[in-house]
């Protein structure tokens, strides 16, 4: 008996369904796209059990006649393209002709459609087989009901998550289309509860801003800056909105290519880069970006779910970056200063002692030579430690002593390279311990380590440093905050969180999708000290909060978490929360502005700062260090 067989058509459909239909949200996506492609002005979505039990999408679009209604479920049946060349200029959202066939293969489908009021068709399909087809009365438009998704694919069913999770994903899908099509009315109901209702508005900047307000609330839309209209040409248009710094709390990033919501890595990467460059920050603001290009200029046929796209013109993404940078600069609301954040973090080994003034310099020298003397048996009874060091021609000792003797600007070997002391010798045992080698990040030319010198304190607020390539300014509050943050974070990660039970639960009133998200995270939040339980109508009751937080701070953190779109598991969530806690604690404890510091304290702060994991940005993303380069200074004084 031959082992290789041609698969049955139905099985092919079921397998292929996996590519297009992963979960209820994918069904919603496909059906809503069809509705929009059919020219609908009113699309309504109803879900049961997060869409696992039932998804109903009805619209007032063109509808289908009796023949089309049946043909629609055939694989690669589509009204949207006819020949290959059409693929070059797909203007509709769907085109592959796979969606309905795939969905029908794995569910029970009921289609009611009519091209004119009254004259309609009903088709029922179960697991890919037509069970019924008959004329009915139906208003113009199409209503598709998908029940028992994956009823015949148990393996796939296992991957469908809890109803809240599925519901949130479906809601996010619909939100995406609602943003892209402000002229269409969208309604989403879950088991009778309206979760999203939008009113049609104009299809322009004003309309989209209004639609954003309908979906995410007015406060967000007020904090958006529109991309200047300079980026609209005959062939392409880069439009949309970038949030100001108030919008960095939730990660709301939406990119639409020809009104199709995409997750394009190249575009997002150019946004991240633009934020880092323009804002010197890792806190990304909200983004609603609409890229409209000639259909032939973009390949959407890269991915079955069309989430990724490819632009024919490689310079297009650069133009997007330029538009974003211009808007981000406006959203930041300030003129670029001649100061910049040091770029990159080259790590150069160097020592900090002896850089901050005479006294320390002396101490540094003394400390530096003692171990060399005691650690070099060959030096014998020499009374001059410097000589002894020179007397040992090889090994790290020589380099170290050289560093001591030489002018600032030379690399000194780290103290750990010294031979262990305690070996016999006439010189008394040193009382100090060699320190760990220090990594001093320098923004100078590669390999050339030059020490910094503390010049003083400016208005009790900033520390001024003479650096190898310019004048460095360090914000003492932010620098201290950065250090405390790293310390607090380490200790928080090490200990268990304690949690203060509240006398009466605090009610958090959130948007529907936000409440769902917190419900999903509830189990993971508990070990972090937050105990919450869902209530009706999008409210969450908080019954215990981490001891280190006030009730208001706890609320702010949960609000932020609820609006973040990051997918977090238990461990990731804990990390993130602890980081947030650490940042808030550090900020309160850090040295405030206008606090005079002695040279010793400044030295200590600066040297510890340069040992920090990330010395250049505070936990909130503000810069810690600014440099005014020598070149810039000379240029401004007219020397260049």
């Amino acid at each position: 008996m031959p082992q290789i067989r041609i698969l049955e058509d139905r099985l092919i459909s079921q397998i292929a369904a996996g590519e297009v239909v992963e979960r209820p949200a994918s069904v919603v996506k496909e059906l809503v796209e069809n509705s929009i492609d059919a020219g609908a002005h009113d699309v309504s979505i109803e879900l049961e059990s997060g869409g696992k039990r039932r998804v109903v999408v009805s619209d007032d679009g063109r509808g289908m006649d009796a023949d089309d209604a049946l043909l629609a479920f055939d694989r690669h049946a589509t009204s949207k393209i006819v020949e290959f060349d059409d693929l070059e200029q797909v203007a509709t959202l769907g085109f592959r002709g796979e969606a309905l066939a795939s969905i029908a293969a794995v569910s029970r489908v009921e289609l009611r459609t009519a091209t004119s009021p009254g004259d309609g068709t009903l088709v029922r399909i179960e697991g890919g087989r037509v069970k019924r087809a008959e004329p009915i009365a139906h208003p113009q438009g199409t209503r598709l009901e998908i029940a028992s998704l994956f009823f015949n694919v148990p393996a796939r069913r296992k991957f469908v998550k809890r109803p809240q999770t599925e519901l949130r994903r479906a809601l996010e899908v619909v939100q995406g289309y609602a943003l892209a099509h402000p002229e269409v009315r969208f309604t989403l109901r879950h088991e009778g509860r309206a979760l999203l209702e939008t009113i049609p508005t104009r299809d322009d900047g004003v309309g989209i801003r209004e639609r954003i307000a309908q979906v995410f609330g007015a406060p967000l839309s007020r904090n958006l800056v529109e991309i200047p209209l300079d980026f609209i040409t005959e062939e392409e248009a880069i439009t949309g909105f970038v949030g100001n710094q108030q919008t960095t709390r939730g990660r709301r990033l939406f990119v639409f290519v020809n009104r199709r919501l995409v997750r394009d890595r190249a575009v997002l990467a150019s946004f991240y880069r633009a934020v880092r460059e323009e804002w010197k920050s890792d806190d990304y603001p909200a983004l609603f970006l609409f890229l409209d290009v000639e259909p032939r200029e973009v390949d959407v046929n890269v991915h079955p779910q069309k989430a990724e796209v490819r632009f024919r013109d490689p310079t297009f993404v650069d133009r997007v970056g330029t538009a974003l940078r211009a808007t981000l600069a406006a959203a930041r609301g300030e003129e670029p200063a001649p100061l910049r954040v040091p770029r990159g973090m080259p790590q150069v080994q160097a020592a900090w002692e002896g850089l901050g003034g005479r006294q320390v310099d002396e101490a540094g020298r003394q400390e530096a030579w003692r171990p060399i003397a005691s650690g070099s048996p060959s030096s014998g009874t020499t009374s001059s430690p410097t000589l002894s060091a020179i007397g040992t021609p090889t090994g790290p000792q020589r380099d170290s002593s050289l560093a001591v003797e030489s002018a600032p600007g030379e690399v000194r070997e780290p103290a750990a390279a010294y031979p262990p002391f305690g070996s016999s010798g006439r010189i008394a045992q040193p009382t100090w311990k060699p320190e760990e080698p220090r990594m001093v990040p320098l923004s100078g030319r590669s390999g050339e380590a030059r020490p910094f010198r503390i010049l003083g304190q400016y208005k009790g607020t900033m520390i001024l440093l003479e650096g190898p390539d310019g004048l460095y300014l360090i914000d003492q509050h932010v620098a201290h905050e950065r250090l405390l943050y790293e310390r607090v974070r380490r200790s928080l990660h090490a200990e268990r969180s304690t949690s203060q039970t509240l006398l009466t639960p605090m009610l958090l009133e959130l948007g529907q999708s936000e409440a769902l998200r917190l419900e999903e995270l509830a189990a993971a939040l508990e070990p972090c000290g937050f105990v919450l339980s869902p209530m009706s109508g999008g409210a969450i009751a908080l019954t215990a909060i981490p001891t280190v937080l006030s009730i208001d701070e706890a609320e702010a953190i949960l609000q932020k978490l609820a609006t973040s779109s990051e997918e977090l598991d238990g461990q990731g969530l804990r990390q993130k929360l602890l980081d947030t806690l650490a940042a808030s604690l550090a900020c309160q404890a850090a040295v405030k502005m206008h606090h005079p510091m002695t040279l010793d304290k400044m030295e200590r702060l600066v040297s510890e700062l340069f040992k920090a994991e990330q010395p250049y940005a505070c936990p909130h993303g503000r810069p810690v260090v600014l440099v005014m380069g020598d070149v810039e200074l000379e240029r401004r004084f007219g020397r260049r």
Binding site: T498, S499, Q500, L503, T504
Partner: protein
């Protein structure tokens, strides 16, 4: 205005005004005290629009008049002066002349008509409350009033007149303090929310009897010549009787001062922000311990009359400390249930009809 009055009497009345005036205000007149001479009195008033305080001093009035003077400066001058008699005059528009002993001050003031009109609720029927009792009640709940001002917190205490007596309750969401005294003969349906600042100022008053009045939006407390008027706080106070657990079946009675000392000592080894110590109740002993990865550990035990099952829970030492420091009995009783349920603390044989402090546990 041309009056003379006793310096000490005047000083005595302008000192409490300082707590009411706003120091950092955008409305300049709110940092001022209003002085108004009529008949044979100098009327004094201060307000921050939420809480207002009025009083008066006997004085010889030769000519009536009014002016608003910067509160802090006036106090400094009167306090620094020597002499028993003080003359206040307005000889020039907007300038107050103060003559005391051989010193003379001329201070710029603001016109009296810029000073806000204070709410008048004299028409309401007064309720008489023994002031010492009332002040004692305020002290017993004041610490539980939240100092955070946000939409979740009520920065005030609930005053309720019940048939059984007068009740004052405060909570900050982590703990609740309730005190009830047998002031009878008053019947009022609804509770009134008194702002924190008003209660704070009232604690400084002296007197035998307090006249209490209230209108739809304001409360007035009159003790002697001083009258404090405040706005009634808006907000819903939690249903406190339901919040206080009645089925905490594990009870222990301990010496109050000893408990306070032990909790204070063990509490030394808690962090600044995450204040939590462990309380373990075992047969015959009550053990307190604290462990802090940055600092170290502490442990101390107290003998007690407990004979039930062991129980362990986390608590904030400050919350206990506040309760113990305002309680005046020799012993206190703690009622517990399990590690996730509240600890309810009572004085044993207290003077009040009822005093209870509910402390929510910390999950360690």
């Amino acid at each position: 205005m041309d009056i003379s009055l006793s310096r000490l009497e005047f000083l005595n009345e302008i000192v409490p005004m300082q707590g009411v005036v706003e120091r950092r205000t955008t409305i300049p007149v709110l940092s001022h005290i209003l002085l108004r001479a009529t008949d044979d009195r100098l009327h004094i008033a201060a307000t921050d629009l939420e809480v207002s305080l009025t009083s008066w001093c006997a004085s010889k009035v030769k000519e009536e008049g009014a002016i608003a003077i910067q509160a802090k400066k006036l106090l400094e001058i009167v306090r620094a002066s020597s002499g028993d008699e003080l003359s206040l005059r307005i000889e020039q528009e907007g300038v107050l002349t103060i003559l005391v002993g051989k010193s003379l001050f001329r201070i710029r003031g603001l016109p009296a008509d810029e000073f806000p009109t204070l709410p008048n609720i004299e028409g309401e029927k007064p309720v008489r409350i023994p002031f010492q009792t009332f002040r004692g009640m305020v002290t017993k709940v004041f610490y539980a009033i939240s100092s955070e001002e946000s939409r979740f917190q009520l920065s005030g205490a609930l005053l309720e007149f019940r048939k059984e007596g007068l009740v004052l309750v405060a909570t900050d969401g982590h703990r609740l303090a309730l005190v009830e005294s047998s002031v009878k003969g008053i019947d009022e349906a609804d509770g009134l929310l008194v702002p924190r600042k008003a209660l704070q100022e009232l604690q400084r008053f002296e007197g035998e009897e307090m006249n209490f009045r209230h209108s739809d939006h304001h409360l007035s407390f009159t003790v002697g010549r001083r009258q404090l008027i405040c706005r009634i706080l808006e907000g819903t106070f939690p249903d406190y009787e339901r919040v206080i657990s009645k089925d905490n079946d594990r009870q222990v009675v301990v010496d109050r001062q000893q408990l306070a000392a032990v909790i204070n000592r063990v509490g030394l080894l808690t962090g600044d922000r995450a204040r939590a110590i462990r309380m373990e109740l075992e047969a015959g002993t009550l053990v307190f311990s604290a462990a802090n990865p940055d600092l170290g550990e502490a442990r101390e035990e107290i003998g007690c009359d407990y004979a039930g099952e062991s129980l362990s829970l986390g608590i904030n030492p400050d919350y206990f400390g506040h309760f113990l420091s305002v309680t005046d009995t020799e012993k206190v009783r703690l009622e517990l249930k399990d590690e996730n349920s509240q600890c309810v603390a009572y004085p044993v044989d207290g003077l009040e009809q009822r005093y209870v402090c509910v402390i929510m546990p910390i999950r360690l």
